[in-house]
C-alpha cells in the first residue's frame, strides 16, 4: 500500500474548502443556485491551481442527488462515485494522450445518449490545447448545439492555443495563482490535521518555492516531511529546496568587489556540496544584479525594506555599466550552461568572467568619481575611464530598469545578447592573473567577428523555459518589472485582450465604400472594415443585421452567444463608436438577443472556411509524405498550417 501524496489526499471536495479561487467559486455557485447554467466552461491557469479539482466539484454539483446545488452533499451515490472516479456520466478525458479526431468522435458519439445515472453527462477535457485541429472541429459542432443533458468542462494551461471559435462558446474562468499567504495557511491546516509539527518560516519557504501552485506546494510539503522524518524545520527545508540562498549570491558580489577569486570559487564549491542548481543560481544572480542596478537608479523601487537595506551597500560598489554587463554575462552563462563541459564548469567560468570584466577600480575603493561622495546621481553618468564603445551602455533615464536591452545591441538578439562578443570587444583587464605577459591589444576578435555577428540560435532553451522577469523588460520601465510574479508562469492575458487570429482583414480590400455597406446592410463587410479584434469581433460575428433606420442600427445576438455580452457589457458601445466613425455621423447601436433567423457573419465565414479547409486538407492528406508526418509527429502543426486561399 503506497503512501497517498498530500496533493491527492487533500484535494478539496467542495467549493467551501477550495482555496484561493473565490472569484470563480462565487460565479459558479451563483450560476448553480439560480440554475443559469452555461453548457461549456473553460478553466485556464497554470499548473496546480485547481482546474481538475473544480471540475470534479462542478460535476458533483450538477449531479448530486439532492438536486443541482452549489453545495453537493458528498454523501449520495452520485457524489461518491464521482469522487471515486467511477461515475458513468462524468468522463475525464486527457487531451494530451487522446489528441486525435477519432478520440473526440468516440466521445461525442456517446454524448447524444441520455445520462445513465445522473442528471447531466459531464465531459471534462483536460489540457484541451493539445487537441488536433480536426478534433477541435469535431468538438465545435457539439459545442454549438449541445444536447440539453451535456456539459463540457475544458481545462488548459495554454489558452492561447485554443481556436477563438471554441473560446467564444465557452464561459471562461481564469484561475489565479495562489498567493503565498494562502498557501502557508493551507499547509498549516493540513499539517495540523496530520499532526505533524512544523516551524512556520519553513512553510513560507515552501510557499515561495511553489510559485503559486498549490499542487507544487503539497508535493514539496510531502518531500519536506520525508526529509525531516516527520517534522518540518526551516533549516531542513531550505536545504531540501536547494534554494540558492541569497547568502550565496551576496557572497558572489562581495568576492567580485574584493577581487577575490578564491572566494568566488569557494561559493561554487559550497553550492556543489549542497547539490544546489547552478542554473537556478545564475538566474537568481542575474535577478540580484538587476535589483542592485534598480536600487542604484531609484532606491524606492525595491519595495521590501529588508531587501533594500541589504542591496544598498552594493549600489556603491559597482557602477551602472558593470552591473549591466554583469547581468548579461550571467544570463548568457545560464543560456550556455547546457553547452559547458558540466554545470560546475559553466558556472565557474561565468564567475571568472564577471571577475575579469569587473571595473578596475570600484568607486568606493577610491576612484576620483566617488570622491565627490555622490549618491546615485553621479553613477548614471558614464564613468571617467573611457569604456569600449561596444559595451552596452544604459540609455539615460530608465535604462537601468531594463538591462535586457543593450543599447548597442545588434537587432539579432534582444533577449540573449550575443555576449560572446563582449569579451572580444572589451579591452583586457589588467593582467592580474597568473601570468605577466607582454600586453597585447586583443586583435583576435577579427577572425571570429563574422561568426559573432550571426544571430545565435540560442535554442538550447526550450519554449516552456522560465525566463527571469527581466528578460521581459521593455514592457514597463518601472518597478512593475520587479513584481515577484514567477517568470513564465504569469497568468495568461484575459480573453478579451487576445487578438483573434483571423482579425487582420480590417477591410483593407478598399473596393466598394462603407456607405454602400451601410445602405445594403452588408454586416459581414462592415465587420471587416471595422477591423475588430478578439472577443469584440467574436461578438460582432455572432450578430445578424436587422436593419438601419433613423440613425439606429439593430442587431440580433444569437442565443447561444449571449455570454459574450454578459462577459463584456461594454462591447456594444465600442462597436457603436467604431461604426459611427466609419459612418461619419453619430448613430446608435441596439442589440437584442434571440434566435438567428438569417445568417450571422460567423456562420457564413464558418461555412466558407470549412469548405475551403476541407479541400485543402483533403489535398494535403493524400500526400504520402504529409501522411507520414501526421502519423509520426504533431498533427496540429501540420493542419494548422493548412491555409486555404
Amino acid at each position: 500500500m503506497s503512501y497517498q501524496v498530500l496533493a491527492r489526499k487533500w484535494r478539496p471536495k467542495s467549493f467551501a474548502t477550495l482555496v484561493g479561487q473565490e472569484h470563480v467559486v462565487r460565479a459558479l455557485s451563483h450560476a448553480l443556485a439560480t440554475g443559469r447554467l452555461h453548457h461549456a466552461w473553460l478553466f485556464t491557469g497554470t499548473r496546480g491551481v485547481g482546474k481538475t479539482t473544480i471540475s470534479r466539484i462542478l460535476a458533483k454539483a450538477l449531479n448530486c442527488e439532492t438536486g443541482v446545488t452549489p453545495e453537493p452533499c458528498n454523501q449520495c451515490a452520485a457524489c461518491q462515485a464521482i469522487d471515486a472516479d467511477r461515475f458513468p456520466d462524468y468522463v475525464e478525458m486527457d487531451a494530451a494522450s487522446n489528441r486525435g479526431v477519432e478520440d473526440m468522435a468516440a466521445l461525442l458519439d456517446k454524448a447524444v445518449y441520455a445520462p445513465v445515472q445522473g442528471r447531466y453527462k459531464v465531459y471534462m477535457i483536460d489540457e484541451v490545447h493539445m487537441l488536433t485541429g480536426h478534433a477541435f472541429n469535431a468538438m465545435l459542432k457539439t459545442l454549438e448545439e449541445p444536447p440539453e443533458h451535456v456539459k463540457f468542462i475544458l481545462a488548459t494551461t495554454d489558452p492561447q492555443k485554443i481556436p477563438v471559435t471554441v473560446l467564444s462558446r465557452c464561459l471562461q474562468f481564469n484561475l489565479k495563482q495562489m498567493p503565498p499567504g494562502h498557501i502557508v495557511e493551507h499547509l498549516s491546516r493540513i499539517l495540523a490535521a496530520e499532526a505533524i509539527p512544523c516551524e512556520t518560516p519553513a512553510l513560507r519557504h515552501l510557499a515561495k518555492a511553489a510559485n503559486g501552485s498549490m499542487r507544487d506546494a503539497l508535493s514539496l510539503l510531502d518531500q519536506a516531511i520525508a526529509h525531516g522524518s516527520g517534522k518540518i524545520e526551516e533549516e531542513q527545508v531550505t536545504h531540501m529546496l536547494g534554494t540558492v540562498g541569497d547568502d550565496h549570491l551576496y557572497a558572489v558580489l562581495d568576492a567580485l568587489a574584493a577581487a577575490d577569486v578564491a572566494a568566488l570559487l569557494a561559493v561554487a564549491d559550497r553550492m556543489e556540496a549542497r547539490s544546489l542548481s547552478f542554473d537556478a543560481a545564475l538566474q537568481a544572480l542575474a535577478s540580484l544584479l538587476h535589483r542592485v542596478a534598480l536600487a542604484q537608479f531609484a532606491p524606492a523601487a525595491i519595495a521590501d525594506e529588508a531587501e533594500r537595506q541589504r542591496v544598498s551597500p552594493y549600489t556603491e560598489l559597482f557602477d551602472a555599466e558593470f552591473l549591466q554587463l554583469a547581468y548579461q554575462i550571467a544570463i548568457h552563462g545560464r543560456d550556455e550552461l547546457p553547452l559547458a563541459p558540466d554545470d560546475y564548469a559553466g558556472f565557474t567560468m561565468t564567475l571568472l568572467r564577471l571577475h575579469a570584466f569587473r571595473p578596475d577600480q570600484p568607486p568606493a575603493l577610491g576612484s576620483p568619481a566617488a570622491a565627490g561622495g555622490g549618491g546615485g546621481v553621479a553613477r548614471s553618468l558614464p564613468p571617467a575611464a573611457p569604456r569600449p564603445a561596444a559595451a552596452p551602455r544604459p540609455a539615460p533615464g530608465n535604462a537601468s530598469a531594463q538591462p535586457a536591452q543593450p543599447a548597442a545591441a545588434a537587432p539579432t538578439a534582444a533577449v540573449t545578447p550575443a555576449t560572446s562578443a563582449v569579451p572580444a570587444s572589451v579591452p583586457e583587464p589588467p593582467a592580474r592573473a597568473p601570468a605577466a605577459e607582454p600586453v597585447q591589444r586583443p586583435a583576435p576578435a577579427a577572425p571570429s567577428a563574422a561568426a559573432e555577428a550571426r544571430p545565435e540560435p540560442s535554442n538550447s532553451v526550450p519554449p516552456w523555459e522560465d525566463l527571469p522577469p527581466e528578460a521581459f523588460a521593455g514592457q514597463s520601465a518601472e518597478p512593475a518589472a520587479l513584481r515577484s510574479e514567477p517568470p513564465g508562469e504569469a497568468a495568461p492575458p484575459p480573453a478579451a485582450a487576445r487578438p483573434a487570429p483571423a482579425a487582420p482583414a480590417s477591410g483593407g480590400d478598399g473596393d466598394g465604400d462603407a456607405a454602400a455597406d451601410f445602405a445594403a446592410g452588408n454586416w459581414h463587410g462592415l465587420i471587416r472594415r471595422l477591423g475588430l479584434g478578439g472577443l469584440v469581433r467574436e461578438f460582432a460575428q455572432h450578430c445578424e443585421w436587422l436593419g438601419f433606420a433613423d440613425g439606429v442600427i439593430d442587431l440580433r445576438l444569437s442565443n447561444a452567444h449571449r455570454h459574450l455580452l454578459d462577459m463584456n457589457p461594454g462591447v456594444v458601445e465600442r462597436i457603436q463608436d467604431q461604426l459611427a466613425s466609419l459612418y461619419g455621423a453619430p448613430l446608435r447601436l441596439r442589440t437584442a438577443v434571440g434566435a438567428i433567423e438569417g445568417e450571422t457573419p460567423a456562420q457564413r465565414d464558418e461555412a466558407d472556411r470549412r469548405a475551403r479547409h476541407a479541400e485543402a486538407v483533403a489535398a494535403l492528406e493524400s500526400d504520402p509524405f504529409v501522411r507520414e508526418l501526421i502519423e509520426r509527429f504533431d498533427a496540429t502543426l501540420v493542419e494548422a498550417s493548412v491555409k486555404p486561399l
Binding site: D94, Q223, L339
Partner: protein
C-alpha cells in the same frame, strides 16, 4: 547496487517506508548512478522480503523474475536506442553507413506512454505494486510528456514512478511539479577517495577528466580510454609548436582506428575533451584552477602564459558553439581543422 556516495540517500529512501510518494525524480549530472539508484529502489519495491538494509532479497519469486529480466510489473520506459541490446556493435564496425534499417530513436515515443496506460489499466501480476522507471525523462518531447501527466498525478493504486534526468531544465514544469525531486551532485572527495582504493576503480586522471563523476570514469576505464587520453594529451600539448592542419588529419584517421572504434571514441567525445582542455586553460588564465587535467597543470600553465584573456575566452565560446553541432558534423575533417585552428590561434598569440 548502491554506490557509497549514494548510501545516505539510500538510507533516507528506505527510511521513508510507507511514505514513499508515487513519483520520484532523481536529477543530477551523468555518471553518478542515478539510474542504479532507481533500479535498486525498484527491486526493493517489488521484492516480497527486502533485507534489513533495504535491499531486495534476491531469492523470492519477484526477485527471480526481475533478475531474469521478466518481471511483468517492472516497466522501464527508455528510448529505443537505449533499450536495444548491444547486438550490432560486434561485427558491422561502422554499422550505420549503409543504413541497415531505421535508426533507433533516442526519444521516448508517445506510443510507449500509450502502451503504458494500457498496461496499467489492468491490475498487476505479482502483487499490487508496479514500478515504472523513466530514463532519461528529458527524452520525452512535449507531447509524450503531456501524455504522461495524468498517470503521474493519479496513477493506479500501487504504481510508483521513478524518473531519472540529467537535464531537468528540459522537463516540462508540469512533469517536475508532479514529482518529488531528489538532487545529486559530485560526490564528496573523501567518499570517492575511499572508493578509488577498491576493485574496479578507474585511474585518477580519468576521474578528473569526467569532472569527478565516478561511474562515468569507470565507463571510460572499462572501454580502454586511458590510452586514448594519453595520446590526446600528448598531441594537444605539442600543438603550439606543430601544425594544426596536420594534426587534424592525424586525428581524423585516429577516430577511424580500431582502438578508437573499440572504445566507442568518436567525434563528440574528442570535442568534449578539447573543450575540457580549453576550459582548464581559460579557467587558469582567468585566475581559476585546472580541474579536468590536473596531471597536466604545468603544461596548461605554460600555455596560459602565452594567451590573452580575450583570446582564451573567445576560444572557450567557440568550442561551446562547436559542441552544439557536434552530433551532426557536416564533415569530420573540416570540423577538426576548424577547431584546431581556432585553438592554435588562441595559444600562439595574435599574429595569425
Amino acid at each position: 547496487m548502491i554506490h557509497p556516495w549514494l548510501a545516505d540517500t539510500w538510507q533516507r529512501l528506505v527510511g521513508l517506508g510507507g511514505r514513499l510518494p508515487h513519483a520520484l525524480l532523481f536529477v543530477g549530472p551523468e555518471g553518478l548512478g542515478k539510474r542504479d539508484l532507481a533500479d535498486t529502489l525498484a527491486a526493493r519495491l517489488l521484492c516480497s522480503a527486502p533485507a534489513v538494509d533495504g535491499h531486495a532479497c534476491g531469492h523470492c519469486v519477484p526477485c527471480q523474475l526481475r533478475l531474469s529480466g521478466n518481471h511483468p510489473d517492472l516497466l522501464p520506459i527508455v528510448p529505443e536506442a537505449d533499450a536495444a541490446p548491444e547486438s550490432e556493435g560486434g561485427e558491422g564496425g561502422e554499422g550505420g553507413e549503409g543504413g541497415s534499417g531505421k535508426k533507433k530513436s533516442s526519444q521516448i515515443r508517445i506510443e510507449q506512454i500509450r502502451d503504458l496506460q494500457e498496461t496499467l489499466s489492468v491490475t498487476g501480476h505479482q502483487s499490487s505494486r508496479r514500478v515504472i522507471v523513466v530514463d532519461p525523462a528529458e527524452a520525452m518531447n512535449a507531447f509524450t510528456a503531456n501524455a504522461l501527466l495524468k498517470l503521474l498525478e493519479e496513477p493506479p493504486e500501487g504504481c510508483i514512478f521513478l524518473l531519472v534526468s540529467s537535464a531537468p531544465r528540459r522537463l516540462l514544469p508540469t512533469i517536475r511539479s508532479r514529482c518529488q525531486q531528489w538532487s545529486f551532485s559530485r560526490p564528496a572527495d573523501d567518499v570517492v577517495a575511499q572508493w578509488l582504493l577498491g576493485p574496479d576503480a578507474p585511474p585518477a586522471d580519468l576521474l578528473a577528466l569526467t569532472g569527478g563523476m565516478p561511474l562515468a570514469a569507470q565507463r571510460l576505464a572499462k572501454s580502454g580510454s586511458d590510452a586514448l587520453l594519453r595520446r590526446f594529451v600528448k598531441d594537444i600539448a605539442a600543438l603550439p609548436a606543430g601544425d594544426p592542419l596536420k594534426l587534424a588529419g592525424q586525428w581524423e584517421s585516429w577516430l577511424k582506428s580500431k582502438e578508437a572504434l573499440a572504445a566507442g571514441f568518436g567525434m563528440p567525445q574528442l570535442v568534449e575533451w578539447i573543450q575540457r582542455w580549453v576550459t582548464d586553460l581559460a579557467s587558469l588564465r582567468l585566475g581559476g584552477r585546472v580541474r579536468f587535467f590536473p596531471g597536466e597543470d604545468g603544461v596548461i600553465a605554460a600555455l596560459a602564459q602565452r594567451t590573452s584573456v580575450a583570446a582564451v575566452t573567445n576560444c572557450y565560446n567557440e568550442l561551446a558553439r562547436i559542441r552544439r553541432v557536434v552530433q551532426h558534423p557536416l564533415n569530420a575533417r573540416l570540423m577538426l581543422e576548424d577547431m584546431l585552428l581556432r585553438y592554435a590561434r588562441a595559444v600562439t598569440g595574435t599574429r595569425r
